[in-house]
């Protein structure tokens, strides 16, 4: 059934593109809403019929995976959820996969957020991934959710020297001093790795500028695709690895499922999204080709350039 659906969708999409090409060469304009319709079809078909591909990790993703994989048990890792629901389709799969990885390897994980919206997305990860998959882990001992604080870079500027001044309690109003996990953590300098997940401001760049560089703590980032190119100049000196957009999430999920048998059957939303991504990109490229054919043809005929 799935295969039939995929074939019918592909015939519809590519047949339609051919028809548009012929119409365009004939001098008819393509309404922008027709382009939207094709993008919708190219995304909807793989979502419904589940077209997926195997991923191979690129060096920037592999670097972050290896860094996390090779930390000694008991290491202190901080995950900062600095994103909103608009970025969640890209960044939440990374957050879930990295949370699984860190907790499975026995690290102490501190969850926090510089975005108000990040706190509820952090709760989603905790309730849908951590609590059901790691029921043996104890809040305050193996992981802790210290929540959100307003202040953007100001928050980072404080926690780089003292967590308790900015986060006196965790999200449940439990004083940090009374938690096991914060017994050996005074400031960000006591962390072994920081993973900044986000894409806006404050976000991964601010973590590098205000914490990573001054405190000499390694920072890895998982970011929305839009800002990924701006972070590449920081790799590998100031950022240990980058997950850029859903492609980065998919590569990380592939690494995790192939290295840890426990996660072989886990949800892989990043990998699932690469099918729609691929088909949508092919359609966009087809439209660019069609546009150029029509442009050069009209120029050859002495038409308007």
């Amino acid at each position: 059934m799935n295969n039939i659906g995929i074939i019918i969708s592909l015939v519809l999409i590519f047949g339609g593109l051919l028809w548009l090409l012929i119409r365009s060469i004939g001098g008819h304009e393509v309404d922008r809403r027709v382009i939207f319709l094709f993008i919708f079809l190219s995304v909807a078909a793989p979502v419904i019929f589940r077209i997926t591909f195997q991923e191979k990790a690129t060096p920037v993703v592999e670097a972050l995976f290896d860094r996390i994989e090779n930390l000694p048990p008991g290491s202190n890792v901080l995950l900062s959820f600095d994103f909103d629901p608009a970025m969640a389709p890209e960044v939440q799969p990374m957050a879930n996969a990295i949370s699984r990885h860190c907790l499975n390897n026995g690290y102490n994980v501190v969850f926090m957020s510089l975005w108000a919206t990040g706190q509820s997305l952090m709760t989603t990860t905790l309730s849908r991934v951590i609590l059901p998959e790691f029921p043996e882990l104890v809040d305050g001992v193996d992981y802790i959710n210290i929540g959100y604080k307003a202040g953007n870079e100001g928050v980072l500027n404080v926690i780089v020297s003292d967590f308790r001044k900015m986060f006196p309690t965790d999200v449940n109003s439990v004083p940090l001093d009374s938690t096991e996990i914060f017994k050996d953590i005074k400031s960000c300098a006591d962390l072994d790795l920081i993973i900044a997940l986000g894409g806006g401001r404050p976000g991964p760049k601010e973590w590098v500028l205000f914490v990573g560089d001054p405190a000499d703590v390694p920072v890895g980032v998982g970011v929305a695709a839009v800002v990924a190119p701006q972070l590449y100049p920081y790799y590998p000196q100031q950022i240990v690895g980058i997950l850029g957009g859903v492609k980065g999430a998919a590569e990380y999920e592939q690494e995790l499922t192939s290295h840890h048998e426990r996660f072989a059957d886990m949800d892989t939303p990043g990998i699932d999204m690469m099918g729609p991504q691929t088909l949508a990109h092919v359609v966009i490229m087809a439209f660019i080709v069609i546009g150029n054919i029509v442009y050069f043809r009209s120029r050859g005929k002495g038409g308007k350039s």
């Binding site: 919708f40 500028l209 100031q238």
Partner: protein
Amino acid sequence: MSRTAVIVFAIVVVLFAVSWVAKAVVLSDTSDSGTLDAFLVTVAAFLTLAIYSFLYKDNPYYKFAEHLFVGVSAAFWMCQGFWTTIVGNLLPRLSEGMANWFMQPYQPGGYDLGFLNLSYTVLYWIPVILGLLLLMRLSPKGGWLSRWPLALIIGTTAGLNFVRYLRSDFIVQVSSTFVPLLGQEPHQWQGIGAFFSNFSLDASGQFVALLANWVIFIGVFCGLVYFFFSKEHTGLFGRASRVGIWVLMITFGASFGYTVMGRISLLVGRLTFLFEDWLGLIT
């Protein structure tokens, strides 16, 4: 309101009701709060469709969803800021009574400067006063008072950012540009023979590592030449400048490609929600 608009509105209301009831029936088997969950899923689905209706043309449903989003976002951020920062950090340091009132642990403490012991209770009244002065902006006569806290915010932010950006975005970035052009750990240069005998196009191989370093070197150099306007861009200088333009264009192209990927991801996220959570077409 035209007759067509009334008919469309009636259809939307009926569809909403049908969707809510149908979803509630489906969810009643698995959830105790099926009716409420069904309502929330239906609202989310209709708001998603309202936003996407802009792709056809501007309309009141899009406007409604857009304004609702802005209003809810502003309120959400304000409430989170109040409960996490003012209630979580400020009030428990001002008085034990207020800490107890909001069921927060009291946080006594202060700074011992040797000759002076400043308690939190005294210190934290300063941000309270500055915060209230900021609100004076709403007063027609006392608006000038808001300039004092604003000046403090701007001055502090500028000072902090100057130091951080100078270090991380300038000094470290310049040093990162000085890359070895003839090999680095773990690919030290061992002669042309060894280079060709170990030649590989693998991403972790020596050739790709060297190529990446050369691209950084040539890209940065030619990019800087393009922005050097004190000399006419002719001859060899002009050719380097042209390479610089190409480097910039490729960078913009990569950014655009990533942006397309990001936008498609958003669409995938919304369609997955509509097909899975709302319509139940996929599991």
